[in-house]
Structures are given as structure tokens and as C-alpha cells.
Assembly symmetry: C2
Amino acid sequence: MDAEGILSLPLAWAEGKGNSADVIVSSRVRLARNLDRFPFVTRATPEERKSVAEAVREAIESEPLFRECTCCPVCELEALSRGLLVERRLMSPGFLKGCPERVLFIDAKGIVSVMVNEEDHLRIQVLLGGLALCEASRIASSIDRILTRLGFAFDSEFGFLTTCPTNVGTGLRASVMLHLPALKMSHAMPEIIAQSGRLGLVVRGAYGEGTTSAGSLYQVSNQVTLGLSPEELIEKVEAIASRLAEQEGRARDVLLKGQKTLEDRLWRAWGTLSHARRIGLSEAMECLSLVRMGQEAGLGAPFNKMPWGRLFLDIQPGHVQARTGRQLSEEETEVARAELIRNALAQL
Amino acid sequence: MDAEGILSLPLAWAEGKGNSADVIVSSRVRLARNLDRFPFVTRATPEERKSVAEAVREAIESEPLFRECTCCPVCELEALSRGLLVERRLMSPGFLKGCPERVLFIDAKGIVSVMVNEEDHLRIQVLLGGLALCEASRIASSIDRILTRLGFAFDSEFGFLTTCPTNVGTGLRASVMLHLPALKMSHAMPEIIAQSGRLGLVVRGAYGEGTTSAGSLYQVSNQVTLGLSPEELIEKVEAIASRLAEQEGRARDVLLKGQKTLEDRLWRAWGTLSHARRIGLSEAMECLSLVRMGQEAGLGAPFNKMPWGRLFLDIQPGHVQARTGRQLSEEETEVARAELIRNALAQL
């Protein structure tokens, strides 16, 4: 699949639609599965991994549900396309490096992707906009049921077996990406992160290392995959995501009430986005985060029609390069990013 | 004179016209004079200071040249007007505090002002746009000649006598205000300041304390008033001002050549000015300085028509309050300043 094809894929989660979309950007369910009759990816021979990929491809291609699915052997992907797929979260960054037998399947709606020979033989991922873990889980389960005839490694005591023990059991990771600028500004995140840990959940910056969170984007997901049913795990993550969305809403109200300073920050972010001639990724994400906050806070024009999700994606380095049509140096990327943002805002 | 009257005064130096106006904002000549028959201001009785003021008023009012001059006893000036006059550099900040017998004369063109009972009995000041020390000196001398019949304190050895010994001799201070953003960015100012000192000249930030220079505005003036003729002093200051203007021009060329980073800074300054909802004085001055640099560097629209000098004045706290028509808290001033700037830019 070439860069143009990937850019033209729909991207439900970037459209800013769905439940609680003012705070919740996207919901993701991921299942880790391995084929019983082959060794795990790290222990398998190239031949065995090739056989795994073949078996999965046959299973998928014979299934009417996957008719419009695209099969992408990672080795054949051009450099520009790889960056795009990671930034669109259709494959993991880790999937870029790995054995040559890696294959990615993507459905035509940009919702489902299946990574073959990542850490596990199969990683089935469903990604939707807003708070939609149940729906994502329903879709993931239906794919799981179809592929189960490949013969999954399963232990009656432990459940699904996986390369890394942290995935054993349900093999399920449910995660929600939230935009929490007000909680971050109010310095509430460290406490929230600590509390979540005690509940067996992980809250971390969705972009950036450690506790930093470029663009005030956070991800909440289940820590453990064992001991609870998939439904219970989903419910747990969904519950905390909803609670965080509520807290964020209250924090925004508090910050906006009578605070000229915050309004000023939001407008300055707009000023920077609409005028900078060169801008780095983290600053651009921070400004977009503030502009999104201004949009949700009802600051009106010009915030109204800001295509936040799409722009957020378009400023990622792989997207900037793909839109420019060639690989760029860091300075060139920053200049192109600034131009891309200015053009987008000028069209509003 | 009320605030409205002062705001309607023309202000040659703020119009950005004159020689080397791309770098040189204004030229000022100031003469210190004292009346022979009265003690210096600090030693005179209130009655004596009142007599000084009366004598000066008579001399000025009987002179056709001063027909359209306004006489303002400082005590009668309302608070809003005082700030305006200082910010327009028609009177010194020190003149705000002092004896009750202070009187200010301003000509209708906003070029000449005479302070009576400041540190000396008379401070005659001429302020013009661009590099125009000779012209300013010519005007100051003509006023000096007219007022000389008041009988100035003069010593054949020392020249004109003044309260502070640093003004003895010619009583002349020639100063030029320059906009030197590129020399400041290139960290060239400390060396320039040191060199000037060795030449008997002072270069210092025109606004802000010590070596800081809000808005990259610097003032160069003569240190000594003794031992050189007025013409020699003027020539000396004019020569260094011209040299600094040349150096600044070269530094701008170097900075702008191929440096996307500088262009970015200039545009971001525009973005801040056109979007901030609250802005402090020093940040606003810095942004205006950058925008002026962009204007001179030929960045084109929207920099083209920026009324830099006028806006620079309008953002000063006294002007912000006078335009709003009342005294404001610091936060209110910052909010009003941001609004005033946005409105000015929106009208371009």
C-alpha cells in the first residue's frame, strides 16, 4: 500500500465523533493470540513464521467479512508509508523493526488491523472514535471467533498463552485516549496516575516519554489481563475513562470561569499556529491541545471549525513527509509542518 | 491640558519618518539653563521658584514663536495626563515629583517642550523623528537665544552653570534613540556599550533598567557636557548613531539571510500581538520590536502598514489608561492593551 492509499483511508477516531468526544479521542481493543502448532515468534524459524503468515492470510482471505481488507507485507512497504501507518495507529512502532515475515492486514474502513508476527503471532486491533470500548470489543471478538479455527494456544488454567506474560489470560488490552488539558493544567494528573495504578489500570501520556504528555493526551488501559473476564476488563477501563472525562469537564469549567489568563493562552495558541513559520512536533501538539480546549469551551470563531483530530495526525512527522512527498530533514519538517497548519487554518 | 488634548497632539518622532528611520527612532537635544538672579531650584524658596516660573512664562508668552504654546502647571494636570506626557517624552519622569511650582510649556507641534523648575530652572527640549540632531540643535538654540534675555547663570571659565555638575558647560545633552534588535540578538551590545564609554558616550537601554532594553530600544548620548562645543558634541553623538545604524543594518542582513528561524520569530510576534487577550508591557514591546524588524526587513504584508511608533506609544500604561478613560489595575491594563493592539492590527 503506498502513502497516497494510506492517506486516503478513512480514520474514524480522528474525526472527533463518538461518545464523550469532547474529552475522549478514541477507544482501542487489542487481542494477542498465538497459533498452537508453531513456536512463539521469537523462537520460531523464518520458515515457521512464513507459515504462520500464510495460514493467517488464507484464513482472512477466505472470509467474506475481510473482503476489502488490504494485505501489506511490511518489507514491501515504502519508508513514507511505514511512518503513516504507525502515526495512524494501525500498527505499533515495534512492528517497524522485526522479522522479515511481518504482515499487516487493514480493513477498508481503517478500523481493524491485524499484525502478524509482531510480538505474538497475531495482534488483532480495533480502533474507534470517542468512548466505544464495548463496540470495539464486539468487533474484535467477532474477528477472534473467525480466526480461532487457526488453533490458538490456550491453557485451561492460564487462558490464552502469549510471548510476554503480561498478556497471558484474556490477551486483551483495552485502552482509551483522552484529552485532559484542564486536569494537566490543574496539576491533577500525578494523583490520578497513582490512583489508577492501585486499581490495576495504567494512565500515561499517550505521546512522549514517561509522565510527559505532548498535547495533553493520555491513555488509560488495563494493567492486568488475567483474573478478570474480557467484559469485566472493558467495564473497568470504560468506568475510569468516563470518570476522567467528567473530572476534566469540571476542571475546564473551573479554569475558564473568569480566567482571562486561560482565554489568553488559548488565543495565543491560535496565534502561534496561524503564524509560525517553523514549528516542532511537541509545540504544535501543545498548541493544538489548547485550541481544542478553546473549541470545547465554546470560545466560538475561529475555534469552531478546527479539524482537530485530522490536523493532529497531519502534523506527525510521517504525515508531514508523506504530504510533501519526500523524506525531510528536521528543519524542513518543521517548516513544512508550520505551512501545513497555516494552510489548514486559512481554509476555515 | 486634559488627556484628550494630549492624545491629539502630533508626535513627529512616533510617525517613523526622518533620516535613517529604519533604525533611528528619534533625536533629542536638551539644554539646561538657570536664571542668574535666583538660587538653583533645590535651594530656592517657593516664592523664588514661583518668580522663576512667572519670568519664564512672560518671556515665552511675549514671543510670537511660542504663540501656540500650551502652559501646563504640573499641579493642575490630572493623573491620566501626567502619564501621557512622560510616555510621549514631553516631560521627564522626575518632573512628576518635585516642587509645586513646576510648569511645562509644550508647542503645538509636539516638538518643543520647556520644563520650568525641574532640576534646573529651565530644561529646553527638542524632539524630532529619525536622525536629526543638527536640526534639533538649531531649534533649541533659537529658543535659547530668545530666553537668554532672562539672564542665564554663566561663568566665563565653566560655561553655563547647572544644579548637577554633569551638566555644567554647554548644558547640552544630545541623544538618539535607536532600534537595534539585530545587534541585540547577535549579542553585540555589551561590546558596543563598553566602546562607547571609552569615547565619552553613553549607550543604554532606552526602556527598562540597566543593560536590559525592552523592545531593543537603545539611547546613545553624550556623557560630558564640558570641554567641547555644542557643535562638536552633536557631531560626536550623530557619528556614533550613524555607525550603529550601519552596523544594525548589516546585522539584520546576516540574521535574515537564509534563517527561517528569525522569520519564524518575527511572524510569531505578529501572531501574539494579533491574538493575545492579555499582554504585559515588556512582552508587547518585544513583539512590536520584532514586528518592526520584519517591516524593515521587507517581509511584506501584514507587516507593511504597521504603525509601529504610534502603537509603541499607545501600549504604554498611561496611554492605555487614557484611551480607556480611567485608571486601571495591572490586569485590566494588560487586557486593555491586548485589545488595543488587536484592534489596531485588525484595521490594517
